[in-house]
Symmetry: C2
Subunit: 275 residues, 2 copies
Amino acid sequence: MREEATAFVPGHVTGFFSTHPDEDPTKAGSRGAGLTLTDGVEVTIEPATESTIVLDGEEIEVDPVTTVLETLDASARVEADSDLPIGAGFGVSGALTLGTALAVNRVFERKLSMNELVTIAHGAEVQAGTGLGDVVAQAHGGVPIRLEPGGPQDNKLDAIPTRARIEYVSFGELSTADVLSGDTDQLTAAGKEALSRVVEEPTLLSFMYASRLFARDAELLTERVIETIADVSAAEGQASMAMLGETVFALGTGLSDAGYEPSVCTTHPAGAVLK
Amino acid sequence: MREEATAFVPGHVTGFFSTHPDEDPTKAGSRGAGLTLTDGVEVTIEPATESTIVLDGEEIEVDPVTTVLETLDASARVEADSDLPIGAGFGVSGALTLGTALAVNRVFERKLSMNELVTIAHGAEVQAGTGLGDVVAQAHGGVPIRLEPGGPQDNKLDAIPTRARIEYVSFGELSTADVLSGDTDQLTAAGKEALSRVVEEPTLLSFMYASRLFARDAELLTERVIETIADVSAAEGQASMAMLGETVFALGTGLSDAGYEPSVCTTHPAGAVLK
């Protein structure tokens, strides 16, 4: 057994999605598209007599991380440092979950393949209701398009072949679980339309356009988000809302140009990696 | 139209493979596994009245690159810098082909998706007989396992979740086209056995072991390669032969420990990327 291992998992901002429930959590998931980010989460795993999860110095409970530890039969201290706010649509729980799977596999020499680890992490997220598509996107990197839902055995991914500077501001949390437990018919219809638009023209501009229409049609916009996107548009920039958080992301210098003081990163060229 | 764009494509060393012909070059390909490398090829595309391909300052002809330029209806100067020797089993032709597809798509605004570009590049390589699995591996990054052959619409990939320092020495070229045009029954049988070994235990050590058995059973080893692998084994290292080149690669400091002066890199965490 190694003493410890560290994985980096990029953040993931979903622009639009549609939900696809299934009794088997490794087959359930979402279609959609998003941006993986160089701002992400670093997860270090160390064997311990009792499992604990510490995020940015604070002990927390994260159900899917606990599930992964149990599935991989590992008792460990999970220590994570995040560049990103929690619950604001950046896939932090997916990053914690996938990073734990990767680093536990290494420390405890579980000899699982990448697809097996992604399946375990994806299933744990779906089961916990904390995410439907972040894990598979974060394992892929770049600007992934999720054409078919589920874990690696079932899903189908493509990507927009690009790299871009991304800015974001976050005003607060939205509960993924709350939105997903409500009526999702309208959201799913809007998500399907957005996806066909991006499949037809897989460019960043078309992704941003589809994301804005989705946020409006799925009725997920808040007042502050509407205002911020309008400010960016007025400055001739491209912005939309992160699913699901009270967060606005923009291409290039969109938010700076509109007078905001955003966090700045770029799309992440790789999926989750061991360090 | 942009003035130019640059893509970086990692090198790819195949440890073992089996060939899978098909009338459709986007469905044909190989199963197998290999290492993508931080040593790779940088490809810059600039519109030009006549297409030319320049590698490390020298004008050359590369059939699959020409095919990609024609398929994407682009007349361009392709300027490439390679860290790797040509024809020695590092996937340089695949890198040139995929890098051209990615950078042309950006410069000429062809608005194709990543899968579409990989399909075009993979099909061009297969058609030219220059490679069967490099392009899809180089688009994936890491340590890809090619479970099913063909382009992204048909294939199935997994990966060994790891990162490693890699050393290599190259003694010369082997013609991929010559080997693939000969009797490949024995090679295919050895490739299938190696793959099932790595699927059962997806670790680097098992990959190196399966690769060595494959090189022996497929009768592809040369005298110098046999000797070098033996030297690394004697120094308690792990080495095998790159498919297809007179090249030996080793984990960690395997070749240095055996007294060689190898090139040094690491596995590449990402697939091909625009810079």
